[in-house]
Symmetry: C2
Subunit: 195 residues, 2 copies
DNA sequence: CCATTATTAGAGAGCAGTCTCCAATACAAA
DNA sequence: TTTGTATTGGAGACTGCTCTCTAATAATGG
């Protein structure tokens, strides 16, 4: 009934992600994506209503890929404490394996113009974040974190600290050392409620 | 001998820093800085040869302010271990006290166009970083960190972990909770060589 | 083979941002 | 007062980016 697409959405997002990974948000211009993917600007605007929409899709795709692997770990079988340690390790391992994606997530959604995103994209972001936060929260209760401080410590152990361990390497473009995985686990041990 | 300056360099950098703190690197356009400071573009370009130079000065001023307070702590008197814990705490405390500055340092120099900076600015950056790294390294040896892994753990304890603890709050614009200070110290305990 | 339609293709309008240039200005020194 | 000079002030050239518009194209269903 119609002409088949020559360029896939993923292909365009790949180009955008590559630019974002190396040059940060500012490098992801519509012109640069079009050039890098070998697509005329018209085709790009046929897929995405504008730059904010493209940035939103790229961000959500990247975040989603991390989220599925992360929630997989969180939802795994076994005792909560080993699970929490595994989750902390996983953040670092995932960053080691997906440096380009991790370099994108190093920025906030705000750095990719979140405030201009189309409403559906914002909702997807909201729901993705809520899902992860609820998984972490449920693990926190299983760990015996009752008050706010204890819950904050769990969040820090599972997300913020492992992420911090990786940041500098992502910024500098150097590979994340394997020793960072153990550091994340050691910090988690120190932050989680006593066993 | 000449007309006195009406606008100080600091005043212009303040405007730039405010823009960077709220909107990130992309918000710091020469036009925006001029408008926000109430300065015509000609005056701005009289002080700074171009946008890269302005960004460099802003970054170096912000980094320098952190560095002096941080190296003060590192060079303090006393046993190395309490000193290291104090340094870890200090990173979080400083971010709590200087949220705007911390929000700037959350980005890398690369995000502020480091590759286009004038050569003298690059040298100053290099030397500032080297100074801090050497202070950390000397503390690491005093702590008994002999191999590379142990040294990496010290760096992580003193810089990367405390910084990671603060990141999310900086991104979201929420104040950094006081509990984060203790978390930084607890993680440092776990990462430093055993006492 | 024709009509329909999603997609490609690219030219170019419009705009925001950087930077240049030159005249006007205000002060210090002679 | 006069001269010299660092600075202000702003107009506008130039560039790069976003986005629009229209025509061409390639497949499908009748």
């Amino acid at each position: 009934m119609a002409r088949p697409p020559r360029y896939s959405t993923d292909q365009l997002l790949d180009a955008a992600a590559a630019l974002a990974g190396t040059g940060g948000p500012a490098a992801v211009t519509m012109t640069a994506v079009a050039k890098s993917a070998g697509v005329p600007s018209g085709s790009l605007y046929h897929r995405f209503p504008g730059r904010p929409a493209l940035l939103a899709e790229m961000w959500l795709r990247t975040l989603g890929r991390f989220h599925v692997s992360y929630t997989d770990v969180l939802a795994g079988p076994g005792e909560p404490r080993p699970l929490a340690l595994a989750a902390a390790r996983h953040v670092v391992e995932w960053s080691r394996e997906h440096p380009q994606a991790a370099r994108i997530l190093r920025y906030g959604a705000a750095d990719f113009g979140k405030e201009s995103w189309p409403a559906p994209a914002l909702e997807r972001l909201e729901s993705a974040n809520a899902q992860v936060m609820s998984a972490v929260a449920s693990l926190a209760t299983r760990l015996g974190a009752t008050d706010d401080t204890a819950r904050e410590r769990v969040t820090a152990a599972l997300i913020e600290v492992p992420y911090g361990l990786v940041q500098r390497h992502l910024r500098e473009g150097t590979p994340v050392p394997a020793t960072a995985v153990d550091m994340a686990a050691d910090c988690a041990e120190a932050l989680l409620p006593p066993a």
